[in-house]
Amino acid sequence: MERMDQGSTNDKLDALFAQYREACPDREASAGFMPHLWEQIETRRSAVSSSWFRLWAQVWLVATVTLAIVIGGILIPRLENPPAYQASYVDVLTAADSANDAVVLPSGGNE
């Protein structure tokens, strides 16, 4: 008996859902639906592209700052501290070469 009651309540609930479907039919959109949709699409699109631009700008800024720090860290100390050898490699070679000449030339002068 209880099962029969539940069966009929089930049927009534099904009928209620069917009536609800009928009471809320599919509806047409208002005239402003499409323009407003495209407006929102455009707004989000420009927000996305500007955020991409912002991201790129940040990446470039970070890269530039990093490069500046690296250059500053490596080059500035080198410029500030003079090298241990005062004479250049060419000066040293020239000096060595002239010393050799001093040894060789006098022997030619005696002949």
Partner: protein
């Protein structure tokens, strides 16, 4: 399917005209579904806009044109669910949403037989909404999609990406709860 697969592919490849046609083909059905799910006529278009906006920006993730409809329904269900959760947070009551002017206009415009029919529909809508308030937002939407929208378990499986048995159990429990409320209401 209300549209050709080719149109979906075109829209996927960034053809705005094709996307426009897609929206025009589905908007009536989707707005109807949203209206039945959320039960607030004044907010239906906003939720509908959200659905199509999400569709526009997620179309490139659609694997195949064949699964377009379940995909669209999934977006609809998610947008309706988000809306219902927001509403719950705001603790809004259905009647308080109508301004005094709107109520007066509705009263003034209605007349005779048309009024009686509208009253009957309003009663049905209110009855169903009060019954569905007895279950969670998730179950409310699931039950609506099955009982009112008439989707099959196979279709729901595609939308929810949950196996059929789990859906059956969930639907059964939700329906039992609604049935109980319905019995006590009668």
């Amino acid at each position: 399917m209300l549209i050709e697969f080719e149109l979906i592919e075109k829209a996927k490849n960034g053809d705005d005209g094709a996307f426009n046609q897609m929206v025009q083909a589905y908007r009536k059905r989707i707005l109807g579904t949203i209206a039945r799910l959320i039960g607030k006529p004044e907010d239906v278009e906003d939720v509908g806009q959200e659905v199509f906006l999400r569709l526009y920006y997620s179309l490139d993730q659609l694997r195949a044109a064949e699964v377009f409809e379940p995909w669209l329904y999934r977006l609809t269900v998610n947008a309706a669910y988000d809306y219902l959760r927001r509403q719950k947070r705001r603790h809004e009551h259905r009647m308080s949403d109508l301004s005094e002017q709107q109520v007066m206009m509705a009263d003034a415009s209605a007349g005779g037989k048309q009024q009686a029919e509208e009253d009957r529909r309003t009663k049905i809508r209110e009855m169903v909404h009060s019954l569905l308030d007895k279950v969670s937002e998730e179950d409310r939407i699931l039950l609506m999609m099955k009982e009112v929208e008439g989707l099959s378990l196979k279709e729901l499986e595609k939308i929810y990406k949950v196996n059929e048995n789990a859906l059956k159990v969930r639907l059964f429990r939700a329906r039992q709860r609604v049935l109980k409320a319905f019995e006590s209401h009668e």
